[in-house]
Symmetry: D3
Subunit: 131 residues, 6 copies
């Protein structure tokens, strides 16, 4: 499968190898998952994606676990199977319990349902909601 091959470490360009080294250091594991191995064909995109991901997912006004669950929610709505798998695993690694996963999924399902109802009914935005 895949529209590009997954690059092994020995096939990486120096720029891509540098990003892989940073991923390994940041995550404290030797394992680099398939997404990065596919992206490595384009070292500039790999670099830009990794650099931005680090910033976006870092602790801030929201904690990293909340951010990871937001990532799973969006990936679910976008029907990205790989992304649901990888970010669910990441969320579990950051402390998402079975209860938290179940509640997150219930919200995602509820939102999908009311999104569809609102669209089917073509409800106008209340003035009260306009910034």
């Amino acid at each position: 499968m895949g529209t590009v091959s997954l690059l092994a470490d020995e096939d990486l360009s120096p720029e891509a190898a540098e990003v892989f080294a940073e991923i390994r250091a940041a995550r404290q594991t030797d394992y680099v998952n398939n997404f990065w191995r596919a992206l490595a064909h384009d070292p500039a995109l790999l670099r830009a994606t990794w650099d931005r991901l680090k910033v976006v997912m870092a602790p801030g006004a929201l904690d990293p676990l909340v951010k990871e669950m937001l990532y799973v929610a969006v990936s679910t709505a976008n029907s990205c199977s790989y992304c649901v798998h990888s970010h669910t695993a990441a969320a579990k690694a950051k402390g998402m319990t079975d209860e938290m996963q179940a509640e997150m999924l219930a919200v995602v399902g509820m939102a999908a349902q009311t999104n569809a109802l609102v669209t089917g009914l073509q409800v106008e935005v209340d003035d009260a909601f306009k910034a």
Copy 2:
């Protein structure tokens, strides 16, 4: 606009009026937003949606603000304009600061981008991510 009219209080069936009374009591405001006024044409769906929403959005393993931000994230991914407006307003009412909103949006945007990259690359799920 709308594929159905928005029902005024005096046009509600007794079953719908009962749900509206519960919404007003739960939210401690007389204001009932357009979604419910459109849904009120089908009192059974109105009842089922309200009953389930209360349960799903209640405090649990996740706090209500996190749930509201998950709702906004899914609504954004599903391109539901009304839902983005109404749940962003709800999240602000529950304490979402400008910084939290900005970080949430940054995660939503990042997820949308990597979802698209993964789909375009057709990356295979790593064995490590399979439950």
Copy 3:
């Protein structure tokens, strides 16, 4: 609004005018809605769309009202506001009652919810469902 203008009857190419005449005859009304007026900039696409639409929406194994409700359901899932409006109007013209609309919307909402749950859970297809 619009990324192209809406063509008035006097601005139509002969090929587009011919399609408009067919739309008016088939629908037994002088009114031609905005979709066709936007599409008329590309007479070949206008012709292909109209010709195919007539065939697809004609009575067959499914009756036209069922087909129109399927159209609304897909348009809702695809977040196409114009399409929800126009095909809901068409479904009503073909006999969709308020009860039928409400039941259709309830199915659309239910499907959106379980679609999201299945994607979030990444449920594997049962062997029993494979053709």
Copy 4:
């Protein structure tokens, strides 16, 4: 695969086992498909989903086969592979012939095409379509 395991009958909570018993009785088969086995990790969501599904899919102003085809159409638009498989199987079990499936798919494809054209053209909603 899956972000949760599929629960076997012997792993069910009493609440989940009760829902499974109802599914078996309603469908008159011992077979319970994977969706329910994944959902069973959250007995409250399992219960809510099953209870609501029974009501929404019951005969009413629309017959169950029409509802099932609407379900397939939405699942297709939402790119839910599992859902397309399971609800196509359900529709066939309720009497969907090959001709009906072909006509349904033709409508789904036509709707997807014109949804995209309308969005690309950003056609404004006709006043005639506003409720």
Copy 5:
């Protein structure tokens, strides 16, 4: 897999066989891919799809490779795994280099990200952009 079987050459109706012959002639290969073999259950839809595809993808104001990359971009946004695979292969056959594929994917990812940001921010359309 599949909600219908893939038809072998010997199972085709005369109308479907005729379309297959045209596909083979146009593509100068004996290989007919699975999409057409699934679609062949509905010869009228097969004919309509093939006839229109030939016209839409033919050289015109845009060259066929650009059209093929647009096809991949839309298929990616619509999460159609099969379509991403088949149209990426077609684009490569028409001359898409690794660099072109990488740049196309970078645009698709960027667009997905800003689409989400715009929707989350609910930005109003500038008057300057209205046709």
Copy 6:
């Protein structure tokens, strides 16, 4: 409308003002469109988005007009009304003729249709398409 206000020049942070100056210089116009004015509430996201957009949309293996049409195609598939308006305007500014726009839209519509058919049929990926 909007879930945040649109910032006027005098309300910008120094970091945001710097990005606005770069946008004005790059585009050789004083006009800065609403997307950037909404994004300016988060100067870091504004900076990251602008910096990356410049790189992604620059001439390379694909010319800027092709990239802009890919952007419109994805925005259409993602139902982002603002994005369709703004990137269609940008494509026209870069030389997209009416014929090119019509052909692009025809491809987008065709892709949406066959994406839906493939998903409804659940066609398996041909071995020939696997990289």
